[in-house]
Symmetry: D2
Subunit: 337 residues, 4 copies
């Protein structure tokens, strides 16, 4: 932590700040400059609340050097991690893992049909929502437990592990009974109580980035899960909220190589929610792989025109098969460049 | 809903869109223009998912006219609502209600001291956090149930109703045992499961705006609570996330008069979290009242320099008493202008 | 400047960074911590480009302590400045100055009518646009020089100084011939060439904040003007661009007290452009004054329903007179609280 | 345009709105719905200012269907355009064009060295800034005309066309004397006067997206240039401003395929300014090509550690040569997927 003093701070004010740092149990080191003095804080092992310091006379600002995460950091865990979902493994140097399926499970027939489509096209994990977070209460909210059963049945039918979202702690038992990979949605990225609970599971977690979460907050949210003992976490970039409305969200693809630098956890990309437009999904899916994503999450619906949710961003079975063909042609080159 | 066709859409494409609208159970009305045709959708009673339409050939975009909320809307409920918290009432034409207290409850002594300070200065509701949402898991997480008991004891001591945040459904019983007003924090504004549960309570709810929630989403979140039967909801503007980092968040004060136009629910403002800087809090508190806020939520700590959380934005007892004096001088004028 | 090293940075890497700092002509001071070493840079008198440092092995990040502005800073110029526009003066402790008039000058009759309306209601400066920045080229672009003449004639008629926007250096002579206060619009806030030119004028400048300008960039833009010798600058907050679309922009009112802390320059607020909605303008105008604005900029049109530009956010003459009445009742209280 | 009436709007209010539409010279078509009536506006050939309508009683909102651009739209100009810079051509189906060179021209030797490096690695256009837009006035502002001469000399030496930024109309003659492609920087994207002037040139223009410009505004800015007769415009995505500070800007790559849908103009991507971090540049450059970019703009400096500007995001000559090798391996695959 660095404490920056006002240009006109007095020697007494600087001493008082140093005393306050000492009282917190840390050491201080004044750094006199031409314009002003700064005071380095030494000996803290993590993030320090700056309220006690900021309030002292003569203090201009406090700059944090430590990060609110450590377990997820590559700084302290240099080797890249692998995460296993059933037989499927995500990680550096492995082929990217494609998770695909409908936004929401609408019927057993629908999810089984979807499962066959995505399996035959080459997807490795089946996705489908049973509990749906919707902006307003008057929209379709998902089939619930019934949906989970259909999803499991479909997964078994085509021999694929399945991923689905959990929205509350009370659903965790049910979700764990049926799902191989447990998803925390963007709206719950800072639902810290839910994070702590999934941190106690012996089950891989897919953590989606919050709509307005900085990368630092995203990694700190993952830290909640690791801090409880579960290090099987896959990050998922799905677009952030910006002023731009031409796409549903703004896909922040640069975060992918940056996460690979800063963290050892694998990261996948969801171009369907990020763009909200079917025509953009295949292009951005391929871009994501080039950016270094360890996998993709793609919405596929047998008949998007009748989908109860997010039809406009869902690929058809045919569209998805085309995309998978393109990805197969792209993969060999990725290894060489 | 309005469906805008491409400039070059054919008559067949237009007919197909109309057929799709009919299949959804609505009527369609083509509006031919010089540049392109648009198709009005009639007969829908609420928000319609546009996926099924957007996917048809020739469709450029779909424009929603209906809103994802209705019960919270003044359009359907013209009279302003009042919300009662113990003996305190928030609503149009009533004196603004000030909720004050520390960010987090640190000890019985601390919260009792704070309660006396804010009571004597004129606050009507005591605030204090027992469950704290923190960016990283290594920060102080609150005293939990122990804190709730201290808060209740402090409220009883000074005869004030108390407000505190609930973070998970499993905490609801405990929180309801001790608190008069139940707060949903910004990070949980779209924790729809929690919203549904508090919607079943016979207890007023303080709903804070999510960091990146549009006004439409904010009102739709309140709609979740009202849809379950609880119409005792107070909205709270607490700053949104923008590119500006000079303040902790960007206080969106214009939303206050706009909420008063669009909704019948009362709205309060939290200038402490919005600005993150003690020196800005009193000024923005008064601005909020002029903007039409039905109340304020202010962080006050007996000794901010030792606060475990948010010390830099907390007023001292003295600073808060000054603010309350200023507010008392301001109030008579507000009635005349 | 503070250079933060990686956790695993070697002693050699730290030495190399220190050598690079020395090569830049500054001194370095290592601050060893438990997790990592940071290196303080001493002796720089202003902002230093960090490219040369960031590129060295072992460097995690570079943190700037110096600001890209100095002349506008209260740190180096503690006394608040006053800016004079004709007989009107803006500054601390003075009555707020209201600038009012139509978005664009449409005819001599229109601007003269508007001038009489705003003068009789109590405005001190007449505003009107002759050169209009419009998103698309097919919208009304203003009357140009003809408009400037009408504006001057209207100002003379009612004995008010006038303010108008300049969009290019080539218009400066004409604008200076007719206007008392020269406005740089939001879209030109970082048109540095224009800033330099108005910095050479002996004429007060109204600098509007750019749509996505941080406070730091806003002050640095003003620094361009002061650096050329013109310190007669009035800042203007007019809303920033965020994800929220319920209002035209997001009025960042907290910046007002913050500017008063950080800079000696006066700041005014434009609630018309910020909100884009007539019904919100009076409320936010009053809030701005309570927030500490030294003045207001308000769009007023004799007949908003026929305005060629921004009619929806313009007050009528009557609406403006009502607002001015309310402001007059508010002012005495502002002095006491 | 669609006018949405309040739920409780009266028949008289609806009639009055229709009369106002007629007065504007358009036809109106009421669309009665269950919740409210909407009124379609027919016959307008472009964007209509909504001020006159929004002000009428009973009007809830006005929704625009027309766009503020037409000439840049694929709707009216279905065939993709090609833009020629010297011998180099940008457009659909052509190999992507790489523009490379230092952020700013620092000396003749520096730019000539850079030119040889980027030429030998395979770049087609040489970039270099002579007039530099800098946040604060105390940073290096570029060599000016002297720099233009060095750039031209370097371009001639290696037989490459050159691109450089123009910041004011007064520099246009000089820039046109030396540059083959004239760049409008992000900060000037809505410097409409400059846009109009370059619209009169017989010279290709590189238009960078403004930091907070929506896609609609970006295309409307290009429309200014085309409206003056110059249709040789290349768009450039260079990152937008968001809340995320982990990268310098947020690269909005999804805009690339969307621009290809909506407009006939070519679009290139600048990953250097977008990310601000050397380590992210090559990855995002390749992602941009997969996203459909017609070219790239890359900062390359012979010795980034001594660069006067943006050293941290500049590739070395070696790094750039590596990237070009990777791109050459990627290109054949792009044609097949």
């Amino acid at each position: 932590m660095l404490i920056v003093m006002h240009h006109h701070a007095t020697a007494e004010e600087i001493k008082a700040v140093q005393a306050a740092v000492t009282a917190l149990g840390f050491r201080s080191e004044p750094i006199p400059g031409k314009e002003r003095t700064a005071i380095g804080v030494l000996g803290n092992q993590g993030y320090v609340d700056d309220g006690t310091i900021l309030e002292l006379p003569g203090v201009l600002e406090v700059i944090h050097v430590s990060k609110p995460y450590k377990l997820v950091s590559r700084d302290f865990h240099p080797a890249a991690s692998e995460v296993r979902v059933g037989e499927v493994v995500l990680g550096n140097g492995l082929a990217p893992v494609v998770m695909a399926g409908p936004c929401s499970i609408e019927s057993e027939e629908q999810i089984v049909t979807a499962a066959r489509l995505v399996k035959s096209a080459g997807a490795q994990i089946l996705r489908g929502g049973a509990f749906k977070p919707r902006t307003g209460p008057h929209s379709f909210q998902g089939l619930g437990i019934e949906g989970l059963k259909y999803l499991r049945a479909a997964g078994n039918e085509v021999d694929m592990p399945v991923v689905t979202e959990v929205m509350r702690i009370g659903q965790l038992d049910a979700v764990c009974q049926y799902a191989d990979l447990v998803q925390i949605g963007a709206r719950n990225m800072q639902n810290f109580e839910l994070l702590k609970e999934v941190g106690k599971l012996d089950r891989p977690i897919l953590l989606k980035r919050g709509m307005s979460a900085t990368l630092e907050e995203f990694l700190a949210a993952a830290e909640y899960i690791l801090a409880e003992g579960n290090s099987q976490v896959v990050l998922c970039e799905r677009g952030i909220r910006t002023f731009e409305t031409a796409t549903r969200n703004t896909l922040d693809l640069s975060i992918v190589p940056l996460v690979r630098e800063l963290s050892h956890l694998p990261i996948v990309v969801d171009p369907s929610h990020a763009t909200g437009k079917r025509s953009l999904v295949p292009v951005m899916a391929k871009s994501a792989l080039v950016a270094g994503a360890h996998g993709l999450m793609i919405e596929v619906h047998p008949t998007p025109e009748t989908a109860l949710c997010d039809g406009a961003q869902s690929l058809t079975g045919e569209g998805f098969a085309d995309l998978m063909d393109q990805i197969r042609r792209l993969l060999p080159v990725l290894e060489t460049c």
